[in-house]
Point group: C2
Chain length 506, copies 2
């Protein structure tokens, strides 16, 4: 192998070896399957220590360019071929840095991200994203609120703010929380850039390498994006139409040392299922017995359109076991990025320290605008209107699905939130269906994307809140068409396929 | 020891043992220095496996309540005493959760945080924080910009935005960057919630456990707050009046496998030192030779009030080795939390994925407001005015210090930025001085707070940009008083103390 070392170069020898071999692989001088000289021999030829060659090989292996097989030797991988001749922007100079080797290895499945991107294309009827209705947004309301706070507060809103949050917003949240049965002091609230950040801060402040956390499975993908790492174990608990399966939870807790339990008891994402009061009480009893804090995600809680309000876990928890997360994103202002965490003081102190390291504090103008809307009573009015509109949209969807869906398909209609959960006959695969739906410019989210283990293939989530009525109707018709075609095909070609059609979710 | 187990309780036995022992320690039944029964004996008494008792003891030890010493046994720690009787808010129910045991162990020195809090008190003349001048803020400007964008963009500004950033802002940044000699494509920019978040995203996207990163020492504390962890090694390079000491850097790189080099070449925080062009070129040459990316923090770069602009490292780097960070926080709008990263596409892709997990995207209203100010030319006007005002304030400070400081104190005046760097005679300790200054309602930041290793005690940072002229004058007089008193004391009591008075910084 042609490697030449220059002792006068102020560059470590192992780097010289590594870079020359990498260069030969990427230029095609060494091809997939070619065998490298054993490190001992190369070291001997070059007159260096064997460790020096070993370090060079280790780097190349971690870059994926070579691979060692015990007893056989070290070979150039097929991956190396695909890395050759990286795309270059025309006219830009060559990058002399090999970025792939700098990135930590991560497994990532971005199916959901790709779905969201394709759903945002012009002309696509998207039931994919849990977005609010743009019809509802009243730009004038926001504009007047921004104007009022900037007149009143002046330049303070663009200066550094408090890590804990903008004081007037915290005071407003306190009133709101008390109204919801959550008595809270100001220093038990931390304002964040939304619930995704709240989850991230919890991981930093409470979770150490080696810890296990319990999540509902399926759940919000942003939750496991935060916790998924080689050093944290995610334990899944199935979700029933009455929320988290508590018998499964108890067994898990008996067999594992668990740090945190994540639950979204109201209009759970993606199922839309809601935990009844008695189940909430039992969950709290279990958490108390095992002394494990519960993280309650209540972002959809305010979007109840029918039935009676059920108190959040936090309202049933005088002992301070629950860490409560909420935001203004689902009720109408995701672009402002304002969320909050309610927890016992020691927890908030830790989270505040994490927030300081994450981004110093939450943007003040956004906080002030929401507070202004809240203090004027406009936020409650807005939420009431939103619930009315979303209830209407769900009715439109229900009528459309009743007309278009074959009877073998089961739809769960929650009393609020932004989506319905659809269970298909067992032989169907929602991802295959999505491929066909896309061809007809319609999208939805297959259930699989929300499972971090044991994925279910024959279910899907339909978000209807962002769509105008006529598109709900049209989208339902397209999906109904595809489902009926699938059923016909099944009846003809696969006579046994229908046997599992009415399998329940649990 | 009194431990009773209940096999019918659905709570693991080790937890029952742990909780009962913890209860006895916290109630005072077991006192500091008391010896616990050896796990083997307790297990025998209770009829459980030794591992069960071992798990209970391990938890208590990680909580800091007990400690084992080989050959002697396991004892209740003195720490247990201080944990007894936790503060309770009056009228609030007892917390039945022992939070301390949930928190990952962290060493944290929050001297700087405490300093900032005490500096914000009414009537304190604070040279501590690198904050801008509130006199400068023109609330009407912001209000008109907010009004214009909300009229134009409407509800879109409160809806979900793009993870990469608000497109019109990115287009504006592109023009700005090109003007600064940084040719950049739109997909080489990521908008963040400020530079603190940019640093945090870099850690997530590029740094793995076991990696080493090089930082200037002293440096911005937020930088090592992000990277300080048991799994990442921070290597410090001294800062000279010409920036990072490159000989020291080269030796470090020869002896260590380094992942990233952090540098703030313009008006470095806390020293205010700026790297001349030739030094920048040598730094780039070194980074290229070792193939190590440089993270350039340019937040103070735009605040040059005198002398000639020096191109940022990124403008001297056609190969894409530099990851460039900037924000609008130091030029005037920290409350909006808008920063950005410029880097090669593969890096931006990774960072975007990290951003998605951190908080989905940057608040859109803040991005739109800054873009609007920029597009109307108001941002440049604002920055020019800011530089004029800060130049004036530095002059005021310089005159005041010339009058009040004893000649043994050396002050470095940078050609921009927000602070000056003060070197005291070697026998002085800036933290001791701060105690006295605080008594006179004046504060500054001792150098020690900015060192993550080998702290220097006889230096301090004075930030003058947030203060009105008369307070600069008054604060300088107070500090001058204290310094002269120290000098007098030294001349009388410690005749040898003055020997090291003119030691240079390097």
């Amino acid at each position: 192998m042609l490697v030449t070392l220059d002792g006068n170069l102020r560059k470590p020898l192992y780097m010289q070896i590594r870079d020359q071999i990498r260069g030969r692989i990427l230029s095609g001088g060494l091809k997939s399957g070619d065998r490298l000289e054993p490190s001992r021999e190369l070291a001997h030829q070059l007159g260096v220590h064997r460790t020096t060659v070993g370090n060079a090989y280790a780097d190349l292996e971690s870059e994926g360019l070579i691979q060692g097989t015990v007893g056989r030797g070290t070979f150039v991988t097929p991956l190396a071929e695909t890395m050759r001749a990286p795309r270059k922007a025309p006219g830009r100079p060559t990058q002399d840095i090999f970025w792939e080797s700098f990135f930590p290895k991560e497994a990532r499945d971005d199916s959901l991200g790709r779905l969201m991107a394709s759903s945002a294309e012009e002309g696509v009827i998207s039931f994919a994203a849990a977005h609010g209705s743009e019809e509802l947004t009243s730009p004038d309301l926001i504009r007047r609120a921004a104007d009022a706070v900037l007149r009143r507060e002046g330049g303070r809103l663009v200066q550094y703010g408090s890590t804990a949050g903008y004081h007037p917003l915290k005071a407003y949240l306190q009133i709101r929380l008390r109204r919801d049965g959550i008595p809270v002091e100001l220093d038990e609230i931390l304002v964040t850039h939304g619930c995704q950040q709240s989850l991230d801060l919890l991981r930093r402040a409470l979770v150490s390498p080696g810890d296990s956390v319990v999540c509902e499975n399926p759940t919000y993908t942003g939750l496991w994006n935060v916790f998924e790492s080689p050093s944290v174990r995610l334990l899944g608990v199935p979700v029933t139409p009455e929320g988290m399966d508590l018998d499964a939870l108890e067994s898990l807790l008996e067999q594992n040392r668990v740090k945190l339990i994540f639950s979204s008891p109201s209009f759970q994402n993606p199922t839309g299922f809601t935990m009844p009061l008695a189940v909430r009480q039992r969950l709290l009893e279990i958490a108390r017995r095992f002394q494990i804090p519960i993280v309650e995600d209540d972002v959809y809680g305010a979007l109840r359109c029918r039935g009676r309000q059920i108190p959040p876990l936090k309202a049933l928890d005088p002992a301070g076991l629950v860490i409560y997360l909420n935001s203004f994103s689902k009720v109408g202002f995701p672009g402002l990025r304002v969320g909050w965490i309610v927890a016992s003081r020691p927890v908030i102190e830790r989270l505040q320290w994490a927030k300081q390291r994450a981004d110093l504090h939450t943007n003040v103008l956004g906080q002030a605008v929401v507070q202004e809307l809240g203090a004027r009573g406009l936020l409650d009015k807005w939420i009431r209107k939103t619930c009315r509109v979303y209830a209407h949209k769900q009715d439109v969807l229900r009528c459309a699905l009743a007309r278009h869906f074959p009877p073998e398909v089961r739809v769960f209609y929650p009393e609020g939130g932004m989506s319905v959960w659809v269970e298909l006959p067992a032989f169907m695969d929602a991802e295959e269906l999505l491929v066909k739906a896309r061809e007809r410019r319609m999208t939805f989210a297959p259930a699989r994307y929300f499972y971090f283990q044991n994925p279910r293939h024959n279910a899907l989530r339909l978000c209807y809140t962002a769509l105008p009525d006529e598109k709900i109707e049209k989208g339902a018709a397209i999906l109904g068409d595809l489902l009926r075609a699938e059923m016909r095909r099944a009846r003809k070609g696969r006579p046994g396929a229908l046997a599992g059609a009415s399998v329940a979710l649990v």
